[in-house]
C-alpha cells in the first residue's frame, strides 16, 4: 500500500468515525483487500481466509473509535488482523486437541499449511532437532516408519504407556516450536 493510499484510507476512517456510511463502506472494502492478502499468506483454505477476514472486519468495526486521526492506519489494521489470525490458530489447535484426546495417533494437525515447501521442510527439521533423542526416535518410529505403539514399545523395550506419554510430549513440543517459528517469521 502506497503512502497516498494509506492517507486516503485514514481519511475514510475518520469520516466513518463521524458516521459517514459511504466512506465507511469504502474503507471496509479497501481494508478487506489488504486484510485478505495478509490472512491468505498465513492461512488456507479460501473459506478459512474469508472467515478470518470477516472476523477482522467485525473487530475493525468494534474498535473504530480507537483510531486516532493523524496516526498511520495500516499498523492499526495490521494489529487487529494479526490478532484474529492468532485467535483462529489457537482455536483450531484447541479443537484439534479436543478431538484427538490423549491418543497421539489420532491427531491430524497439519503445521504450516500455507508455508512454502522449503520453509516447512526447514521448520520441521529444526522442530525435530529441538526434541530429545528418545522423543525423536519414538516420533520417527510412529510417524515415519508407521509402527504401532506396541511395536515401538517392544523395539525400545519400554512400556506402551511410556511410549504414549513420550510421544504426546514430543508432539506438543514439536507443535509449539512450529507455532512459535510461524509467528517469528511474521
Amino acid at each position: 500500500m502506497t503512502a497516498e493510499q494509506e492517507l486516503e484510507l485514514a481519511s475514510l476512517l475518520v469520516k466513518a468515525q463521524e458516521g459517514n456510511g459511504e466512506a465507511y463502506r469504502d474503507f471496509l472494502d479497501r481494508s478487506s483487500h489488504y486484510v485478505r492478502r495478509f490472512v491468505a499468506r498465513r492461512l488456507s483454505p479460501a473459506q478459512t481466509v474469508e472467515d478470518v477476514v470477516q472476523e477482522t472486519l467485525l473487530s475493525l468495526h468494534s474498535a473504530r473509535h480507537t483510531y486516532v486521526p493523524g496516526k498511520p492506519v495500516v499498523p492499526w489494521i495490521h494489529a487487529i488482523a494479526q490478532r484474529r489470525v492468532f485467535d483462529y490458530l489457537r482455536k483450531r489447535m484447541r479443537s484439534t486437541e479436543g478431538k484427538a484426546g490423549p491418543s497421539f495417533d489420532q491427531d491430524e494437525w497439519q503445521p504450516g499449511e500455507a508455508e512454502s515447501e522449503a520453509t516447512s521442510h526447514l521448520a520441521v527439521r529444526d522442530a525435530l532437532a529441538n526434541l530429545s533423542p528418545q522423543q525423536r526416535d519414538i516420533l520417527g518410529l510412529l510417524k515415519i516408519d508407521g509402527l504401532s505403539t506396541r511395536e515401538v514399545s517392544e523395539r525400545l523395550r519400554i512400556t506402551e504407556a511410556s511410549v504414549r506419554v513420550t510421544a504426546h510430549r514430543a508432539y506438543e513440543k514439536f507443535k509449539s516450536y512450529l507455532l512459535v517459528k510461524h509467528y517469528e517469521n511474521e
Binding site: 458516521g19 456510511g21 465507511y24 471496509l28 467485525l58 487487529i80
Partner: protein, 219 residues
C-alpha cells in the same frame, strides 16, 4: 454471509463514535488520578510519624523514585497496549516484571531468618492498617483503571490487565510507603505484598472478564 454483504450491513448501520482521547491525555488523566488518590489517602490517614527523619535518607528516596517510576511505566504500557497498533517495548515489560521478582525475592530472603509461628501471628495482628490501605487504594484505582481500559480495544487482555494491576500495585505501594513506618521484611511481605497479591489475582480474573469483552464482540 458473504464479505460484501457484511460490509454493506456494517456501513448501513454505522453511527458516529466518540473517539478515544489521544494517548498523552489518557496518560495524564491516570497520573493525575493516581496523584489525587495518593494525596487524599495520605491526607486522611496522615503521614508516617518518622517521615521527617527518613525523608532525607538515600534508601527512602531510592524506594520512592523506584515505586513512582514503576507506577508511571506500567500505567503507560497498559494504556498503550489497550489500543491496537501501538508498539510496546519488550524491554520495558521486562523491567517491570524483573523488578517485581527481584523485590519479592529480596523480601522473602530477608524474612526467612525471622520466620516463626509467633512472628507470623504478631505480624498479621499488627498489619491490619496496611492491609486496609493497600486494599482500599488497590481496589478503587484498579476498578477505575480496568473499566477505562475496557473502553479502548485491548487485543491482549491478560497482558493489559496484568500491567494495569501492576500499575495499581505500585501506586498502592508508593502511598503505603508514606503511611507505614515499619521496615521489617516480614511485615512488608505480609502487610504490603500479600494484600497486593490478593488484589492483583482478583484483578487479573476481573480484568480478563472485563477486557476480554472486546474479543467477544468481534466473534
Amino acid at each position: 454471509m458473504r464479505t460484501n454483504d457484511l460490509i454493506s450491513n456494517l456501513a448501513e448501520n454505522v453511527t458516529p463514535v466518540r473517539r478515544l482521547p489521544p494517548f498523552s491525555r489518557r496518560f495524564a488523566l491516570f497520573l493525575f488520578l493516581g496523584s489525587a488518590l495518593g494525596t487524599l489517602t495520605i491526607g486522611y490517614f496522615g503521614f508516617r510519624r518518622d517521615l521527617a527523619l527518613v525523608a532525607s535518607t538515600f534508601f527512602f528516596q531510592l524506594q520512592t523514585v523506584a515505586l513512582a517510576s514503576l507506577f508511571v511505566l506500567s500505567t503507560r504500557l497498559a494504556l498503550l497496549l489497550s489500543v491496537p497498533g501501538e508498539r510496546v517495548s519488550p524491554l520495558q515489560q521486562k523491567v517491570i516484571w524483573g523488578s517485581l521478582v527481584l523485590s519479592l525475592s529480596a523480601l522473602v530472603a530477608a524474612s526467612l531468618p525471622h520466620f516463626s509461628e509467633e512472628a507470623l501471628t504478631h505480624t498479621l495482628a499488627t498489619s491490619g492498617n496496611c492491609i486496609r490501605y493497600v486494599g482500599v487504594v488497590g481496589l478503587a484505582y484498579g476498578i477505575v483503571f480496568l473499566s477505562y481500559l475496557r473502553k479502548a480495544a485491548p487485543l491482549y487482555p491478560l497482558q493489559t490487565g496484568a500491567l494495569a494491576l501492576f500499575s495499581t500495585g505500585s501506586l498502592s505501594a508508593l502511598i503505603v510507603h508514606f503511611l507505614c513506618k515499619s521496615t521489617a521484611p516480614l511485615h512488608l511481605l505480609l502487610g504490603h505484598y500479600l494484600p497486593l497479591a490478593v488484589v492483583t489475582v482478583a484483578g487479573l480474573v476481573l480484568g480478563q472478564l472485563i477486557l476480554r469483552s472486546f474479543s467477544k464482540i468481534a466473534r
